[in-house]
């Protein structure tokens, strides 16, 4: 993968002839690049990803790759990084003037864009590459007014330029760029052995272009992110990879040496090593060893031939000596910061924002190190580097986000609700009908005749296996193992701190088979909770999420038995199918699981049928109930109905500090049974006594407070309202609230702060409606 539209890298921007090996010798750089690219393009087994930027390496060698608006996640087994090197700007007065360019930037303008970048250029360099830039400028008709070479001797490449009449200065560099709105000249200066300017050696050269061509700095960020170690190498005057992680290889200028022959040789070695690590051949061991030796010899030869002079800036003064061009950080800013004690590169970076701009330090990383090293009197190596955080290239949020994938879950009856004009609400990932007509009408239908609600969103788990009963017994504070087949029990589940996680029902379908329902939003958490406690135990228990396999409705109300009887042969008499029993039967010809339970406080059946038949069953039920004016009811009515019964909803009436003892569910906790999850803390809670209690209340002033409003005493919050509704059945406002235990007695008056005003309530501890459950059990 390559971030450019065409393969070939920096070679593609070179006009000069290469002295590469074999068939490439004598070709112009761009021609050699084309030749090499054709070799890759002609190999059908190489998949190419062009204009694709690998912007980060993450744990486990995960690559983030951006191509246009597309994001790829690539997890290679072997990674070869050949990202090349950057030039970096020099720090001199006026280095932000238009007309100051990096040498490689000019080469791109010339070769890729066909632009003649100026009329007369001064080339400032401390590396051989600067001389190639000068040649390329000459080749497109730019007058090269001078080349200032910081190293004490001119390299061999200078001869050709000198022969063409170019003034070449050794041991010299730029002091400042002159010009008002654009470069008009460059003041060159000779450097003494210590790198200081020699007084009186200034020489002003007229030009409209300044090419800065410096020691290349490897683009090694991906290597660092892939657990490699980078460090400053004085022999190369660059931060180079010093150690690579296994499965990671580097080739080309990213290793610190820019040389075509070396890049080709190193690339071959990296490819063969990667292939051999994958067991895809790669050559015999002896051949690999030879190649490795060859690469090392080449590296040593190049290093011997290197003539390096570290150059970041010429010591001088001036307000326009920019180190970081993105963030407008000058050398003086850095000097001030160091004097203020920010002498460590990491604090200096945070204080001045050097390297923190949109180029992410690519341009200013090395100059910042160089300037800091000089200001603090520490070496480059000791000064260190900053962390190479991803992304290496800025990535648009839209690319990262991709198309929207937040799922919506709809029940099998969704279309029926839509046809009835339901108002929707979000519950977890689900859409549920909040209301069809009016709360009053829906509540009244359930209390007086019959209503039906879609409860397909309940989490449904089948827990199966020889040890299923023992496992569920251990997971729950209540009893499960002694549950008879065909019976149901209410379940509350606690975490290991005794905090309520979820509630629902457990129905025993067979000795080894349980049907467990969870709250709508808590299915994932409960499923994970069960798996967590099963993992590694070897228990013979299987948990299957069958939520979306079933459509489920709750048929409730005094007339519901008559309605259901029309659709099934099952004996529905209270003796044959009592409260808290479960049966499997055909309903309207559909195989269904019927649970006789009553969240809303009336005679009721929860009917689970295969999702495919959900809509069919719904239609049948509505049809069968017509005589009794059956009404679908939504979540709002359900919440009122259950509140009249003081049935709590975990997560709504409870929070991360609610235990079942304080939530008035002590009956669901059996501390006399063997160990279960949460036991220790529940025992402790019982021993220390209750600190708060969840109770019902009725309102005395007619104002229905908001859910979440505070219960107050003497101006301080002492509790909070969790549920609060107008009850059409009772004709007054009712609710549930957490209050201090001393107030939790029938008839005690409490004060609730609602919308800034106080309203009065009276504590009620028994259900408002049918407190003995006579209707439920009828």
């Amino acid at each position: 993968m390559d971030d450019q539209p065409l393969l070939g890298g920096a070679l593609r921007t070179r006009l000069g002839r290469v002295d590469g090996p074999g068939g490439l010798a004598g070709l112009a750089g761009w021609e050699a690049a084309r030749r090499l690219a054709a070799e890759v393009e002609g190999e059908p087994r190489i998949q190419r990803l062009q204009t694709a930027t690998a912007f980060g390496v993450y744990e486990g060698l995960l690559l983030g790759v951006m191509q246009g608006r597309r994001l790829y996640r690539v997890r290679p087994r072997q990674l070869i990084v050949a990202t090349g090197a950057f030039e970096h700007p020099l720090v001199f007065q006026g280095n932000d003037l238009p007309g100051v360019f990096l040498g490689t930037g000019l080469q791109r303008l010339i070769t890729l864009d066909g632009v003649r970048p100026g009329r007369a250029a001064v080339v400032v360099t401390n590396a051989d590459h600067g001389w190639a830039v000068a040649q390329d400028l000459l080749a497109v008709g730019v007058e090269v007014a001078a080349v200032a070479e910081a190293r004490p001797e001119l390299p061999p490449a200078a001869e050709a330029l000198a022969a063409a009449g170019v003034k070449c200065f050794a041991g010299a560099t730029i002091h400042d760029a002159r010009g008002r709105r654009h470069v008009e000249g460059a003041l060159l200066v000779r450097l003494d052995a210590g790198g200081d300017p020699v007084a009186g050696s200034e020489r002003l050269i007229a030009c409209d272009l300044i090419a800065v061509s410096t020691t290349p700095e490897p683009a090694g960020a991906l290597l660092a992110q892939a657990d490699g170690r980078l460090g400053y190498d004085p022999a190369l005057d660059a931060v180079v990879p010093q150690a690579l992680a296994s499965s990671v290889h580097a080739a080309g200028a990213v290793t610190g040496l820019s040389d075509l022959g070396f890049a080709l040789l190193g690339g071959r070695l990296a490819g063969l090593e990667a292939a051999s690590a994958l067991g895809l051949g790669g050559g015999e061991a002896s051949r690999m060893a030879t190649l490795r030796a060859e690469v090392e010899a080449h590296r040593a030869r190049l290093r011997r031939g290197l003539r390096v002079r570290q150059l970041t800036s010429v010591p001088s003064v001036g307000r326009k000596r920019f180190v970081c061009l993105c963030e407008d950080v000058t050398e003086k800013d850095l000097a001030d910061a160091v004097r203020e004690g920010f002498d460590h590169l990491e604090t200096l970076k945070r204080y001045t924002t050097v390297t923190m701009g949109p180029c992410q330090g690519k341009m200013c990383h090395l100059p910042a190190i160089g300037v800091t090293a000089r200001l603090t009197g520490r070496g480059m190596a000791e000064t260190g580097t900053t962390t190479a955080r991803p992304p290496v290239q800025p990535v648009p949020l839209g690319v990262l986000a991709g198309p929207h994938h937040e799922p919506v879950r709809r029940t099998p009856l969704h279309a029926r609700h839509a046809a009835l004009g339901a108002t929707w609400m979000d519950m977890g990932a689900w859409k549920r009908p909040l209301l069809y007509t009016s709360v009053e009408a829906e509540v009244r239908a359930v209390r007086e005749a019959v209503g039906v609600i879609d409860v397909s969103t309940l989490g449904k788990l089948e827990v199966v296996g020889r040890e299923a009963a023992a496992f569920l017994e251990w997971i729950h504070p209540g009893r499960v193992a002694d549950l008879a087949v065909g019976r149901i029990r209410y379940r509350v589940m606690c975490d290991d701190a005794g905090i309520i996680l979820d509630d629902g029902t457990t129905a025993r379908l067979g000795e080894d088979r349980f049907f467990v329902t969870t709250g709508t939003g808590s299915l994932e958490a409960v499923g994970q909770w069960l798996e967590w406690w099963l993992a590694g135990t070897g228990r013979c228990v299987h948990v299957a999420d069958v939520t979306s396999a079933y459509a489920a409705v709750n048929l409730a109300g005094p007339k519901c038995r008559e309605v259901l009887a029309r659709l099934t042969d099952l004996d529905l008499s209270p003796g044959a199918f009592p409260y808290m029993a479960v049966r499997e039967a055909l309903v309207g010809g559909v195989p269904a699981l019927l649970l006789r339970i009553g969240f809303v406080g009336e005679l009721g059946y929860e009917i689970h049928a295969p999702a495919e038949y959900g809509a069919w069953l719904w239609d049948l039920l509505l049809d069968a109930g017509r005589e009794h004016v059956i009404r679908p009811f939504g979540v709002e009515a359900q919440r009122v109905l259950r509140l009249e019964k003081l049935h709590l909803i975990p997560g709504h009436d409870t929070d991360a500090l609610s235990n079942p003892l304080e939530a008035d569910m002590a009956w669901a906790v059996k501390l006399d049974k063997p160990d279960f999850i949460g036991r220790r803390l529940l025992e402790a809670a019982r021993a220390r006594g209750l600190r708060q209690r969840l109770v019902g209340f009725e309102l005395l002033d007619g104002v229905v407070p908001g859910e979440g409003d505070a219960v107050v005493a003497d101006g301080r919050p002492i509790g909070r309202v969790t549920s609060s509704k107008w009850s059409p059945t009772l004709g007054r406002g009712i609710g549930m609230a957490w209050i201090p235990p001393e107030l939790a007695q029938e008839g005690v008056e409490i004060r609730i702060r609602s919308a800034g005003r106080l309203t009065r309530g009276r504590v009620v501890v028994r259900p408002f409606y049918d407190p003995d459950g006579a209707r439920l059990k009828s």
Binding site: Y351, M356, R389, P391, L397, A401, G708, A710, R720
Partner: protein, 403 residues
């Protein structure tokens, strides 16, 4: 006049001595604030140890959000004092901290979230903290760029508006406290790692560091991310699980957002700094780890959630991502104060994802504890013993995203 422009070091290297009255482990906002307030209380034979550069841990990795709209009365009073200290801090320390009390909005996308916010609004108002529920029309006026249409998967239904909340330049707070402490003669030793703590007869006696041993009668554990490993040096097991938390910044934009936006449902919070960068964070990663390495899935998910709120940011580019590590306690509240059975060992730990907000108040009250020998009322609810006698502080209930 010359004095104004003369550059003097914020903190000076001081000789490394082998004895101090108080050794503070951790050179972040908590450790340095403690040092500063100790100095103010006249306790100046103090040193601060930092294993890397100052502010290199959580103090430099958080998203610099300040607020006090907590859920429990204990939490509200505590953080409210911190906000008030922050309001005066720039003047106290003589340093521009870029504290912008621009207002803080916690969004609700579900009816149960609205209820949770109402609980907080009520508790806040009763405790005298400005905080109220607001509805889409007002939200739109405050944050025009926010998508309040029904288009998003989870449309915005309401928000808890907390006007005193805001953002601050976190590094500056660290540096300014360091300077304040330094000016009172307190020694700050960066690049000095505590590797062991000596005790004798139930009393702390010394700290072993990478530069030698220091004798001290009082040792403060003001570390984050590694507070449980430091506590283990005295054989103390803290009820803490360590999780990474990630964030990223975008390239700078012109000012378009002057409120802190938090969405628990979408696990994201967004603010714009004075430099124009958007700072975007998430909740803690779901796994425990000491790794401060950032991940791609975080970046993808958080980008998607950000665009749910601000679709206009589709083309804005991410510049940097990073991770910090957070010490999570079971009740999402810190552990402050003395340790039963071990004299001289003071905890200022368990700061989870909310430590930066509390730097000033924790520093001040821990300093008060050391200087007077009495635990201030304000931090009593946060003692370590609450895990033994089960008197947890209920901030977890409000802390799905705790920014």
């Amino acid at each position: 006049m010359w004095q104004l422009f003369r550059k003097t070091p914020m903190w000076r290297p001081r000789p490394f001595r082998d004895r101090y009255d108080v050794v503070i482990i951790g050179g972040g906002v908590h450790g340095l604030a403690t040092a500063y307030y100790l100095g103010r209380a006249g306790v100046r034979d103090v040193c601060v140890l930092e294993k890397s550069y100052l502010g290199s841990g959580a103090s430099g990795r958080n998203t610099a959000i300040i607020r006090s709209n907590y859920r429990t009365p204990e939490g509200v009073s505590f953080y409210d004092e911190s906000v008030k200290l922050y309001e005066r801090l720039a003047a106290d320390l003589g340093y521009n901290l870029l504290f912008s009390q621009q207002g803080h909005l916690t969004l609700a996308h579900t009816d149960s979230a609205i209820n949770g916010l109402r609980v907080r609004a009520e508790v806040n108002q009763l405790m005298g903290v400005e905080s109220r529920l607001i509805w889409p029309e007002e939200i739109q006026r405050l944050v025009p760029a926010l998508d309040l249409s029904p288009r998003p998967r989870y449309p915005v239904l309401a928000a808890l508006y907390h006007p005193p909340g805001g953002i601050i330049r976190h590094d500056a707070v660290v540096w300014a406290y360091a300077r304040g402490a330094d000016r009172m003669g307190i020694a700050i030793h960066p690049f000095t790692e505590a590797v062991g703590i000596g005790t004798s007869n139930g009393q702390v006696t010394s700290v072993l560091t990478s530069r030698g041993e220091i004798r001290a009668g009082v040792v403060v554990n003001a570390t984050a991310g590694f507070c449980s490993t430091v506590a283990k040096m005295v054989g103390l097991h803290l009820p803490i699980v360590t999780h990474p938390l990630q964030a990223f910044v975008t390239e700078p934009l012109k000012p378009f957002l002057d409120k802190v936006i938090v969405s628990a449902t979408l696990h994201v919070y967004v603010s714009q700094t004075d430099r124009g960068e958007l700072v975007i964070g998430s909740e803690i990663d779901p796994y425990s780890s000491y790794s401060s390495r950032s991940t791609l899935p975080f970046l993808e998910a958080t980008a998607a959630h950000t665009l749910e709120l601000f679709p206009c940011l589709r083309r804005v580019r991410v510049l940097r991502q990073w991770a910090g590590i957070c010490d999570m306690t079971p009740d999402y509240s810190p552990i402050l104060g003395e340790v039963p059975g071990l004299k001289g060992f003071i905890l200022d730990v368990g700061w989870g994802t909310y430590g930066f907000k509390a730097g000033p108040v924790a520093g001040k009250r821990i300093a008060e504890l050391i200087a007077t020998g009495r635990t201030p009322e304000l931090i009593k609810p946060f003692s370590l013993t609450r895990f033994y006698d089960d008197t947890l502080v209920g901030e977890k209930a409000a802390a799905a995203v705790s920014h």
